[in-house]
């Protein structure tokens, strides 16, 4: 295996392949959310007035702040990549921490937003929801499912970014070999992009 390990070390350095793999993975993520978007579209068409009424319950300020936070985080991770390519390791690491901080702020915000809903007895299966009309039930069901799955992706993205930061610190990811950071940034942009669609669909269109 020692020989094999060496051979693999020499062979498996193909940054283009890694990036292609990441893009393909991003396709699958988009299709995963695509299923939810499809369900949203169908039920929005079926129950448009009730979707309108239910969406008024959401707080646009919360959503807008979170959108800005995520956009800043995407910018930060893009800058971190450029910084690393220019061999500014310290700056790059600081920018990654900024990204992680933004992600954290996003989740804290989300926590309070969800908490508010729970306080008003709005969650799948709640007593209040059972009394509402079908469109309301489905709207809030979709709201929790979509933002919940997205929050899960934010958490995964944070973990990946922390790993990247550790690896940069250890010198394993550097100006000559930055594809891991590039892929992590791609993934982070995907997380951002999905939110860019969720925000208007859930908060803005009424």
């Amino acid at each position: 295996m020692e020989h094999q390990a060496k051979a693999h070390l020499l062979e498996h350095r193909d940054d283009e392949a890694s990036k292609l793999g990441m893009w393909l993975f991003i396709f699958t993520e988009i299709l995963l959310f695509g299923g939810l978007f499809l369900v949203y579209a169908v039920y929005r068409a079926m129950y448009h007035t009730q979707f309108h009424e239910a969406s008024l319950e959401l707080n646009v300020i919360f959503g807008a702040v979170n959108t800005i936070v995520l956009l800043v985080s995407s910018m930060a991770v893009a800058m971190a990549l450029t910084a690393l390519q220019e061999n500014k390791v310290k700056l790059s690491r600081q920018l990654i921490w900024l990204t992680i901080l933004c992600a954290f702020i996003f989740l804290v915000n989300k926590y309070f937003e969800w908490g508010g809903k729970f306080e008003h007895d709005i969650y799948p299966g709640s007593e209040l929801l059972k009394k509402l009309e079908h469109g309301h039930i489905l709207y809030f069901g979709l709201y929790f499912a979509m933002t919940g799955l997205h929050a899960l992706h934010v958490t995964v993205g944070m973990i990946i970014l922390i790993v990247v930061e550790r690896r940069i610190k250890a010198g394993k990811v550097h100006a000559g070999k930055f594809v891991f950071l590039e892929n992590a940034a791609l993934y982070w942009h995907l997380v951002d992009l999905i939110w860019i669609f969720l925000f208007p669909l859930l908060y803005l269109i009424t």
């Binding site: 020989h3 094999q4 051979a7 699958t28 299923g35 299966g125 079908h134 489905l138 799955l149």
Partner: protein, 536 residues
């Protein structure tokens, strides 16, 4: 593109060369050939479990009313049989085993693009399979929804649906990662000079399959997640009481699960396309048509899911369109069949077991394909929908097609995998027994299906009994053939005669290297100058 490896290890991939000894040298190996074999062993084991459950169902159906089990157990049987056979055997059956083993060698590479990811997806597969099997034994009893988990029953039944759907989700994820790996491998790892149109046709089929795995599987992933969320949190996506629409579930499910049928059959067609030129010693007829028809099947196959739902309630326009597209997707399949036949014409045919299996494949697949059109046509579908006609059609395509192609593939690449030859005579006898048993088992189901025998039913009218008895006898004949085949293969892997590097006089790259292949496949990466299948 790649740095030259300094020294070439001359031992074969079967010899242990690592830090770890024995079984650990296999379980931790990122070598595509070892991973392919590990998949093969795991899938063969699951296949045996699926066959046993299938046989139990056949015994139950030998007479009307209760024969050996209660109705609820029978519901568990057909669900478990479906989950094991579909998600754990047929979907990974060719691409994860022979795809892993052959794809890198056939395109002149030393491994797949992401070897560690490859091993990871194998472990995901094992983990998912473990959960699927566990769901059969836990407290609330095996899932009884059928493998399609139709809502709203799947969201209300008391059985272990959550664990079974989680298992299917994980198995799907494993399938996505394998597909991703193969796409990148084909794009980035082809040997110098090997353009897309100089690739052999099995890699072409795998490439088309990989795209379906990648683009269709996430949809069923999210659908299964929705079923889980529905059960856990009572959201109401597919529950009419809360405003949801069960037909929407059927759409989402079949958006994946129809293309999944092509995940199963495309690599099988690829295998057959490798075998026929080799045993006819003749250049494949219509190389480009076969290659592009794989892509066409992948593309059009994505858009025909509605034909599973003719009786579920759809607009007349949708019905018309889905039926039309279903007929369209039959065209590229037929192109392949005609090309195979044209390849045989004036070839010097050598009736070895792989070729025999390939002939059986063409026969069974053609019956399955043509009866598929009976199901795809709107008027006839109403008569045969949800009858054993569907069961027969499906098994002709999946077992007669994919299954026999997998047997063909084992017999074709066996000497390459182990460096040993199996007993040709035994293999021939086994294949003929299986062919006879198969037709005895499934053909009567077409007839009683048209007469109105519903699928998935525990009980039936006495007039169906003669056909059911023939079917059950066929099941035992088929199993006898399987036992002989497994016996021959297992014995020969250890004790068979040594096989030469190129026993069938094949032209693709895997036959140009020693049997079994060296650890790194090629000492020097070959330079490809011409199209494949040039027999001299």
């Amino acid at each position: 593109m790649r740095a030259e490896v300094q020294e070439f290890y001359r031992g074969t991939y079967l010899e242990n060369t690592g830090r770890y000894r024995g079984i650990w040298a296999w379980l931790t190996s990122t070598d595509h050939k070892r991973i392919g074999l590990m998949y093969l062993y795991a899938i063969a084991a699951f296949f045996i479990v699926g066959v046993i459950i299938g046989l139990l169902m056949r015994i139950e159906l030998i007479s009307p009313g209760k024969t050996i089990v209660e109705p609820q157990t029978y519901n568990g049987f057909f669900t478990v049989h479906g989950i094991i056979m579909i998600f754990m055997v047929v979907i990974p059956g060719l691409s994860a085993t022979f795809g892993n083993f052959c794809l890198p060698i056939m395109i002149g590479a030393r491994d797949v693009a992401f070897p560690r990811l490859n091993l990871f997806s194998f472990y995901l597969f094992l983990f998912g399979s473990f959960l699927a099997i566990l769901s059969q034994f836990l407290r609330h009893g095996p899932p009884d929804t059928g493998w399609s988990f139709y809502a709203p029953y799947s969201t209300t039944t008391g059985t272990n649906v959550i664990m079974a759907t989680t298992a299917a989700f994980i198995l799907g994820f494993s399938s996505i990662l394998t597909g991703l790996n193969f796409i990148v491998t084909v794009h980035r790892m082809r040997a110098p000079g090997m353009t897309f149109f100089r690739m052999p046709l099995f890699p072409w089929a795998l490439y088309a399959t990989a795209w379906i795995q990648l683009l269709a599987t996430p949809v069923v992933g999210i659908t299964l997640l929705m079923i889980i969320a529905e059960r856990l949190f009572n959201i109401g996506f597919f529950n009419p009481e809360l405003g949801g629409d069960p037909v929407l579930y059927q759409h989402l499910f079949w958006i994946y699960s129809h293309p999944a049928v092509y995940i199963m059959i495309l690599p099988a067609m690829g295998v057959i396309t490798e075998i026929i030129p080799t045993f006819c010693q003749r250049k494949v007829y219509g190389y480009k048509a076969i290659a592009l028809s794989s892509v066409a099947i992948a593309a059009v196959g994505y858009l025909v899911w509605g034909h599973h739902m003719y009786t579920s309630g759809m607009s007349g326009k949708s019905l018309w369109l889905f039926s039309f597209l279903t007929f369209v997707v039959a065209v590229p399949s037929a192109i392949k069949v005609f090309n195979w036949l044209a390849t045989m014409y004036k070839g010097s045919i050598d009736m070895k077991p792989p070729f025999l299996f390939a002939l059986f494949f063409i026969f069974l697949f053609t019956i399955g394909g043509l009866t598929g059109l009976v199901l795809g046509a709107l008027a006839t579908n109403i008569q045969v929908h949800d009858t054993s006609f569907v069961v027969a059609h499906f098994h002709y395509i999946i077992f007669g097609g994919m299954g026999f192609a997998a047997f063909a593939a084992v017999h074709y690449w066996f000497p390459k995998m182990y460096g040993r030859m199996y007993n040709i005579k035994q293999a021939t006898i086994a294949s003929i027994i299986m062919f006879i048993g198969f037709n005895l088992l499934y053909f009567p189901q077409f007839i009683i299906g048209i007469e109105g025998m519903p699928r998935r039913y525990y009980d039936y009218f006495p007039e169906f009994q003669p056909a059911q008895i023939i079917s059950t006898i066929g099941g035992f004949v088929l199993t006898a053939g399987l036992i002989l085949m497994f016996y021959n293969l297992i014995r020969s892997a250890r004790k068979g005669e040594k096989a030469p590097a190129n026993p069938w006089n094949g032209t693709t790259l895997e036959w140009q290297i020693p049997s079994p292949p060296p650890l790194e496949n090629f000492e020097e990466i070959p330079h490809i100058e011409e199209k494949p299948y040039s027999f001299k």
